[in-house]
Symmetry: C2
Subunit: 458 residues, 2 copies
Amino acid sequence: MFGKPSELKNFFSVKSVAVFGASRNARKVGHIILRNFVDSKFKGKIYPVNLKAKVILRQKCVKSLFEVNEEVDMAVIAIPARFVPDALEQCGKKGTRFVIIVSGGFAEIGNFELDSRIREITEKYKIQVIGPNCLGIFDAYTDFDTLFFPRYRLGRPDEGGISFISQSGAVGAAVIDLASREGYGFSKFISYGNALNVDETDLLEYLGSDKNTKVICMYIEGIKDGRRFMKVAEKVVKKKPVVVLKAGTTKASAKAVSSHTGSLAGSPEVYSAAFHQSGVIEATCLEDLFNFARTLESQPAPKGKRVQIITNGGGYGILSADACMKYGLELAQMKAETIEEIKKQVPDYAVVSNPLDLIGDADTQRYKIAIEGAMNDSNVDMIFVIILYQSPLVTPDIVDVITEAYDEMKKPIVAISTGGDFTEVHSTALQANGVTTFTYVKNAARALKMLFEHYRKR
Amino acid sequence: MFGKPSELKNFFSVKSVAVFGASRNARKVGHIILRNFVDSKFKGKIYPVNLKAKVILRQKCVKSLFEVNEEVDMAVIAIPARFVPDALEQCGKKGTRFVIIVSGGFAEIGNFELDSRIREITEKYKIQVIGPNCLGIFDAYTDFDTLFFPRYRLGRPDEGGISFISQSGAVGAAVIDLASREGYGFSKFISYGNALNVDETDLLEYLGSDKNTKVICMYIEGIKDGRRFMKVAEKVVKKKPVVVLKAGTTKASAKAVSSHTGSLAGSPEVYSAAFHQSGVIEATCLEDLFNFARTLESQPAPKGKRVQIITNGGGYGILSADACMKYGLELAQMKAETIEEIKKQVPDYAVVSNPLDLIGDADTQRYKIAIEGAMNDSNVDMIFVIILYQSPLVTPDIVDVITEAYDEMKKPIVAISTGGDFTEVHSTALQANGVTTFTYVKNAARALKMLFEHYRKR
């Protein structure tokens, strides 16, 4: 690390960028990176570096950085590894101190000599490097984007509060692609690969102070300096939740880790203990990482773990109760007056208990009554709303009813729906309004248990 | 039970059907059921029974079954509970011996008197009843469909090998809606509700002999006669796999069971032991039920549990190895000659090990080489193919390569991809070709472990 993590903000406020490896070939990494700059909202200057071409994607090329008369804030390097030292030398001499090296072919394949060379150059010129062997960064707020996956293949999410630090580019990319499809907002995504001189802890510290970031997600294969990570994490979690997925937790996969990013996987127990001690939330699979992040981003702190289940399908209510108990939540017992009040307003065949079964012919009004009852009952800490949109009486204004209940931020409320296209349209609408939705009750229960544990410790 | 389960086939070969409760009001259950008959491929005669209307949906109405001069094979009853006895009497006198009672309002709400009355009538006339308090049936092969959820809300799946017996209509409906979106084929769906005289065991026995059914799925809240269920299940599982999700496995949810379908939830341990003993596969959540069913439908029996992981994302390979170990699978060790053969044909920076990391620039040809190597190596029992479609070099013909490998049916092969719209298009194409796909490696590992255990016992 050179300078301070606070310097990392320079990676996200670039006014001019050079692309080493810019190419006319639409399948080349350098082409896709250049295209993303050209097609995005990025308003800065773009300098494609190419020895032969004069113009690529309507951008005038330079043969080297020395042809540029103005300052160049950042360079993205996407050329074969052996040419990277020369590109870095150009950056150093030109005063370009923020560089993303996308290219692989260094420590991760055992090429320690080349690794040492680029390390020396960055030290000489005090260049901060994200990478090598990475995707670089994406900022949903500025649309600054060095990801070399075409936008038609990898959707970019809208602005939101989740930031994601990923040692693996592909894992991170898959998650933001999923998030973009499902309507979840992101702040920054950083794939840092081999971590030449900017590592996971630097990035964690930086995002801890980033105002657009409300939740920090991390995919990690190895941590370089455990003590420093814990010290920084302890500080950051006071400001915002941090969720980590540690890969390589078995002997077999630990071997794969070293050939992927050159990290040492380390003992999973030691990692777990360290995460626990520093207040970091550990996810044990990618699905939980994604679910935990979006739940933490949108839901308020629960006062306890007593869940009221509201459903229009009896079987789904039972499965929800099973899942709540299995994953360590409790079923709420609403107050007698709440139950009376609800009973007055719903048909007598509705089962006003927990689960509260509004029955298959429930309309939006019936949901509204039940949700308001549970929301205002101090015996209820969290609400599961199961909506089976297959039922003909559930009208689209159910989205508004749940959004309004959620907007009060009194207690966590999540919506669970399983189904096809009609269901997805409504679930996505809820997600776009900030409400956390799930396809399966199991995942909702796991996420709310995590939420309870997280805030209980604080 | 009257007659034999073999008689149940009459519910699926109907040539004329009466709809009690047929209505002009598009939101009424009776309207939706009538519309489904009219709009579907059903070619038989339809008799809407309505006291006032003369024509509904271009179908001539009758005031009672006695106005119909021809035989009526089946009646669907969707009228208030108190009028059901009269409708049943009409059926009995008319000789209509197969009836689906959609209406609720019997034992499940404590109305045992009405329950007894309809029971007497069915005994008197030897009427077989599916229901009451149910959705009835859907047959993807004949398009016969009594589900009262509109098709724009609840997609109907194409023809396939999965049949689903569900005590809860809504749980079943949500799953077939999901299946229709994701491209999985179904044979028959039966929601049997209160099980007046056709119960889960009768339906299990019937589907055991149904040639279109390759896998039987069940959602159960309670089993009426445990011994009989086990005896029948033991016979059926010799012919095809049976997967059961038992709901109400906690004290809290068991209470909800009795108010939902009037069943006794029973001790979860007793159920688990009975399922295990009779060779039934137990799913512990809805997601597993769905995943297990589609895996059993499409995958061949594995010889062992050694998995070869093939990936274009290193991190994903590591997460897959973690998941395999966590859920009880093993990592395969390919033969030296296989490794040599693959190494000859892929770039030297690919990591030909397990996980086999084809690296982010892998094209379809590289996948083909790796898949063929693993498919022909007797040290490999199952194959995980991770495809991150975000990478620009993965071309759509990857779908053909995997389909061809799968079509050989030599060993289980599943495809795992996480992402947005571009990814979904390709995953759905694979599913349509019969290949099992997953969004998360965890679920793939759980499903393949189940597959291994299932065939090991046989």
